[in-house]
Point group: C2
Chain length 264, copies 2
DNA sequence: CGCTGCTTTGACTTACGTCAACCCAAGTGG
DNA sequence: CCACTTGGGTTGACGTAAGTCAAAGCAGCG
């Protein structure tokens, strides 16, 4: 790996981490190296099936996917959306078998690497390990917030909340323009994400349109007034933990990792 | 720290990890050291309040607690139950502020340590770091399963499912005897955990009693036929990931950590 | 041009929520 | 020792948000 390549993290994962923590060259090149093996997948293809043995760790480079769980009789719950830059069940890879499936919603570009490399990462780059742990914690926070939605918010609130969440998450990776973004999702999938029936989601979206909060044209959704939509969904920024620097992390790691970084 | 002390992990956390991965003396004593500072709390006391800055990392030694999120208008969702041996929002401690609260349900004994020590742990004991990551992943899996419950299971199924989950989780730490265990929980809390109203939980429990699947006497609950209750709740062992050894983890860490462990 | 997969809408059903009592046990204080 | 409160549990009557069923519209596509 060349030095030049190492300096600019070309990996979405690297870019994501860089956004809240500065990386050493060694770390960057390790990440780039990790994401070297990229595969392409069609729309609606299973990257992982519930009950299957885990294969490799994956990072979403382009496209959308969902993590979902199903009951024996077919009822299904979408646990989370996998957006560009997201890791696909990072920790889950430590498990023997998958307790959920992962399916693409669009054609997707995915980076793959062996789980052993995670262990390697834990040993060689504790800062990266901690950063990824942080990232995993954010995922948990998102799922917990969805649980709050499904358990305690009304259909209208839930739907509004999800739209704002996606808007915010997509903004970070630069996929929103003036409140407009692509939502490559059928109403069935929205229903499964929000614990509603397909018919009810339809009516709820219609209501949001009628109120004038959103516009839907095919897969393009436009949010006219984020503030208002957020307030309908009782959206509280807190859980996304977008605040750039987890100071504690940065501090502690910088201060004491000088030994390891002496070579730079 | 004495050598003798180091050999037997007296910490619940240590015991938990030992159950699926053998620890070196160094690792054990580090864990024991971590849990040295123990505090006691009354029933119904907040260990952490939503919106508050995180203080320290906590491990539940004795007693129950809940992690919960609330909406501005008071509606509340219990995200998870914290049982003896559980870490309280391990990763969350990397965040600036808490997006959820933690409240004890019983008098509790809690071990506390500074978040910096996690960083230390990441640097000095990658195996422990990975083990804790695994443990965090299990927590995420539990929350995801609860999301499936709240989103897609009926009230009866949900309730049955939760009871079986608690039964299984408590068995691991030896708190179940012949299908009987203490459930230090009001119906209001059950309702908030399952996204139901308090009245409806009451009727649902009654139904479970009428069918003869459970017995409730005060805070003692007895499960007569776990198999049947599990089938009512569409309970699938998979998500708890109780399978002892995460082989991959154990393997990878053992094989390559010889350098570090040379001293033993 | 007739699939097939998705959305939309109306009519009706139902699981679950709300309201409002009443019960019971465990304090607690006069 | 007994009133009185307080926090929970239990039950009935009734309301409603959301589900189900069913049919019709509407692309895209071989």
């Amino acid at each position: 790996m060349t030095r030049a390549q190492a300096n600019i993290p070309s990996s979405p994962l690297g870019r994501k981490i860089t956004s809240y923590m500065s990386l050493t060259d060694e770390e960057k090149s390790f990440l780039n190296e990790l994401e070297r093996n990229v595969t392409r997948h069609g729309s609606r293809s299973d990257l992982l099936q519930q009950g299957e043995r885990y294969g490799c760790v994956r990072v979403m480079r382009k496209g959308w996917a969902i993590r979902h769980k199903a009951l024996p009789d077919g009822r299904r719950q979408v646990v989370n959306f996998v957006l560009p830059g997201d890791i696909i069940g990072f920790y889950c890879n430590l498990f023997e078998t998958a307790d959920h499936g992962v399916t693409t919603l669009t054609p997707a570009e995915v980076a793959n690497f062996q789980p052993e490399r995670i262990i390697e990462l834990f040993k060689l780059f504790p800062r990266l390990a901690a950063a990824l742990a942080w990232s995993g914690a954010k995922e948990e926070a998102i799922i917990a917030e969805r649980l709050l939605s499904v358990g305690r918010r009304t259909a209208l609130e839930r739907t509004a909340h999800l739209i704002v969440e996606l808007l915010r998450r997509l903004s970070i990776v630069g996929l929103v323009e003036e409140g407009r973004f692509t939502l490559p999702v059928t109403q069935e999938i929205l229903a499964d994400a929000l614990g509603l029936s397909i018919v009810h989601i339809n009516r709820t979206l219609r209501r949001l349109r009628d109120i004038g909060l959103i516009d839907l044209a095919g897969q393009q959704i436009t949010v006219h007034d984020v503030k208002q939509l957020a307030s309908v969904g009782q959206f509280d920024e807190l859980y996304l933990h977008l605040i750039q620097a987890p100071k504690q992390l940065e501090h502690a790691l910088d201060a004491k990792s000088d030994r390891k970084r002496a070579g730079d």
